[in-house]
């Protein structure tokens, strides 16, 4: 093989998570009480649009979670040598974006650098001017062609988007027509009216918008830096894509790492009461009384000391950054764990008075079985609601923590690090706005989609909101 796969800690957890989501989906399909609320979510157009956006982010994140090391040329027989840097599948896909590094800042779609330099001219004299970029617009010999070239590329991108969209949409129409035994024309009419249980109209509209944005970006990215370059000349679009994984990991792994503890402690406190309850309550009151930012800061500072004194145990920078990310998830989990535990304890206190639990106790069912079979499945809606509601606030928290200096590793791509790096450039004249804008836009897209989806899930699963 020309490469070997590398499994970082967070990669393993991500794929475990993916597997458990798939298993849960299979389980939910066969159980009516879970299928009903999910069907309610499926009927909400806004939620399904949000899901389309989310799945795009997840795809990028998953692509970025398959890591590999390339084998170097000229390996001796029987012993392969591998490159020292770890790449992800996304890096391989985006290698043109990654490798075209300029000297420093350049505006989106620019051909010239952002700041002037002394450049030797053809006649031997030196002049102080904006130099041409090494890659951005380098395919143009005459700078005045830039406008037409950009228009041509946008046109090509849109055309590609329309073709793909028509193919997708006709597939959807055909399947609707087949399911309802309708003619194709009637199916189109139903789709346009929004007269179908699944809101295909909203899904297709969102897909169309994303497709055209993606295709235009793709066709422009062939010749330009579509979102400009940052201080060290890296493509901002590539940085933003790489940051997706960091955001997703922090949003999902954090809650899932701590979920078992919150579930076990919360249910045990509510079920056993007495001294178990006292101990668990003491534990979470103590933890939650420390302001979250300070606890995170204290823990990350400790980790920094540990990394500084144990540098030899990390083979690559990526492994070190990955460990820090995982640790950040753990410590964020410790702070968000307490509120879920409190909720679960309250719910269990209520449930244990229920007749069916009393009946199980009377029949001599063991404690562990009662908690596992009778109580845990009935508090799952709280867990689900907490997980989806926490996601967006965690993504936002990452940016703030990186700003404070206790976020992810400075070498890791993240929206927080992008904002942090670009923040000081606001004082420049003219201002360097594209890094900030790109980071905020990508973050806004993910968080907004997550919020909308979370609202739909909460409305469907919270029994107090059911009418």
């Amino acid at each position: 093989m020309p490469f070997k796969l590398i499994f970082l800690w967070t990669d393993i957890l991500i794929f475990l998570l993916l597997a458990s989501v798939v298993l849960f989906a299979l389980y939910a399909r066969r159980h009516e009480h879970l299928r009903v609320p999910w069907r309610q979510v499926r009927r909400r157009p806004l939620a399904m649009s949000a899901l389309v956006v989310l799945s795009l982010y997840v795809t990028v994140g998953l692509l970025d979670s398959i890591h590999l090391q390339r084998r170097l040329e000229g390996a001796t027989a029987g012993q392969a040598h591998y490159a020292t840097n770890i790449e992800s599948l996304l890096d391989v896909v985006c290698s043109p974006l990654r490798e075209r590094i300029e000297k420093s800042y350049s505006a989106p779609l620019a051909m010239y650098a952002f700041s002037r330099e002394v450049v030797p001219r053809a006649d031997g004299r030196m002049s102080f001017e904006y130099p041409r970029l090494r890659f951005g617009g380098a395919q143009l010999r005459d700078p005045s062609e830039r406008g037409t070239d950009i228009a041509r590329r946008i046109g090509f991108g849109l055309l590609l988007a329309i073709v793909t969209f028509v193919l997708l949409a006709s597939g959807v129409v055909l399947s609707i027509a087949r399911r309802h035994n309708d003619s194709v024309a009637r199916a189109v009419a139903r789709l346009a009216r929004g007269d179908i249980e699944t809101p295909w109209r909203a899904i297709l509209a969102t897909t169309g918008i994303l497709l055209s944005l993606g295709c235009v970006a793709l066709s422009l990215a062939g010749g330009y830096h579509i979102l400009g370059t940052d201080q060290v000349g890296q493509d901002v679009f590539y940085n933003s894509l790489k940051s997706v994984r960091t955001g997703l990991v922090i949003g999902t792994l954090t809650t899932l790492v701590m979920l078992p503890f919150a579930l076990a402690f919360g249910v045990m406190a509510g079920y056993f009461r007495g001294w178990v309850d006292d101990v668990i309550q003491y534990l979470y009151t103590t933890l939650s009384s420390i302001p979250a930012v300070l606890l995170i800061a204290a823990a990350i500072l400790s980790l920094q000391v540990y990394i500084a004194t144990h540098e030899e145990s990390f083979a690559t920078i990526a492994e070190r950054a990955d460990l820090r990310l995982l640790f950040l998830c753990l410590i964020l989990g410790v702070t968000s764990w307490t509120s879920l535990c409190r909720l679960l304890r309250g719910e269990t206190l209520k449930l244990r008075q229920m007749d069916y639990v009393q009946a199980a106790t009377a029949l001599g069912v063991g404690h562990i079985q009662i908690m596992g079979r009778h109580i845990a499945p009935n508090v799952m809606h709280i867990v689900l609601i907490t997980v989806v509601l926490d996601f967006s606030s965690l993504v936002l928290a990452e940016a703030v923590l990186s700003y404070v200096g206790v976020g992810v590793d400075p070498s890791m791509n993240s929206w927080g690090n992008m904002i942090n790096g670009a923040r000081l450039e606001m004082a420049r004249e003219p201002i360097v706005w594209w890094s900030l804008t790109a980071a905020f836009t990508f973050m806004f897209g993910l968080v907004l989609a997550a919020n909308l989806f979370a609202d739909a899930v909460r409305d469907a699963f919270d029994p107090r909101l059911r009418t």
Binding site: Y282, T285, T286, L287, S288, S289, I290, P291, V293, L294, L295, A297, A298, A299, L301, S302, Q304, V305, Y306, A308, T309, E311, S392, L396, A399, V400, Y403, V404, G405, V406, I419, R423, M426, I431, L436, F440, M443, F444, V447, L448, N451, L452, D455
Partner: protein, 325 residues
């Protein structure tokens, strides 16, 4: 009432001991003082003598928990735990790495934090209540639907964006207020306005959504239907009955954070150059000054517990159904 407060205050002691032990473990067991010394001196030119002298300078050259070389009571008191952790209980925070007295800095800086955080909280709560009540009054209408959509969108924007965009718009383009800085006394007003406005805007989305659910919950109750059946106008029902009862969850949510206002907001203070406790903490984190971080963790938990006790007391004040035993 007084007996209850005393009991709650006593209950806080084991929690504070827990916080203390946790920070002690984090700062002295996970990282030994030797590690700290190495970090501060730089990894390359570390000699055992340099570490020893750094530890002696910062009073870390003692055993952690038990000094077997000392005599009598000093066996316990001449240790790092006693000198650095237990003293937090009497608010003696020791010295920072640059030799300044932390307690003195804290007592000086907290007023600047309060000058930003208190107006932000008050203005924010007032605006949130007003908007939430309006949306609840118009529930089900287009204005309500779109209001909620805007709230979700405002919630989805990072606070950092509000700060950076606000500074750019109001200070750099419009030159309305200074971009950052602080002055004591009434001169602070022009520096306080922008952080307060931005803090308020950043909180509207989440706050309005939460308060709207409180209002809607009250509106669905029987006494409201009775009031309407008696022929009271909707406005009167809203202000005389719903508002009063919805204030209970709103107030208790506000009371719990009041003591924490002294700590201030890390991000706001460092962006706007406010010399409060938030920027103090952020500087300490960036300079890896463990003494200050430890002090702030302890102070934060004390204030949080004070907030919890105040919340319980405020319940009895605003809700006559609750009596403290």
């Amino acid at each position: 009432m007084i007996a209850y407060i005393v009991r709650r205050a006593l209950y806080a002691i084991p929690i504070l001991i827990g916080v203390n032990l946790l920070t002690f473990a984090l700062f002295f067991f996970v990282n030994t003082p030797d590690d700290m010394a190495r970090l501060h001196l730089g990894v390359k030119r570390v000699t055992p003598e340099a570490i020893a002298s750094w530890k002696a300078d910062h009073d870390y050259d003692k055993p952690l928990l038990w000094n077997s070389q000392a005599a009598g009571l000093d066996k316990v008191s001449d240790t790092i735990f006693f000198r650095h952790s237990l003293k937090l209980f009497v608010f003696d925070f020791g010295r920072a790495d640059d030799g300044r007295d932390i307690s003195y800095d804290v007592s000086n800086r907290m007023w600047a934090s309060l000058a930003i955080a208190l107006p932000t909280l008050l203005v924010g709560v007032l605006i949130n209540i007003t908007v939430a009540m309006m949306l609840a009054f118009l529930r089900g209408s287009y204005l309500d639907t779109w209001g909620m959509v805007i709230c979700v969108m405002m919630m989805s924007v990072s606070l950092l964006f509000y700060i950076i965009a606000g500074q750019y718009l109001f200070s750099k383009l419009l030159h309305l207020v200074p971009i950052s800085g602080y002055a004591p006394g009434f001169a602070a007003a022009k520096f306080v306005i922008l952080p307060v406005v931005i803090g308020t805007i950043g909180g509207i989305g989440a706050g309005t959504r939460l308060y709207r659910t409180f209002f809607l919950e009250e509106m669905g109750k029987d006494y409201v239907r009775t009031a309407r059946a008696k022929g009271l106008s909707e406005v009167r029902v809203l202000f005389r009955h719903v508002l009063k009862n919805a204030m209970i969850p709103i107030l208790t949510g506000v009371v719990v954070v009041i003591p924490l206002l002294f700590i201030g907001s890390l991000v706001m203070e460092s962006f706007f150059g406010i010399p409060g406790l938030g920027s103090y903490t952020i500087d300490a984190i960036q300079h890896q000054d463990f003494g200050i971080v430890r002090a702030m963790v302890f102070l934060g938990s004390v204030l949080y517990i004070v907030g919890l006790i105040l919340t319980d007391i405020s319940y009895t004040v605003v809700d006559p159904r609750i009596r403290l035993q």
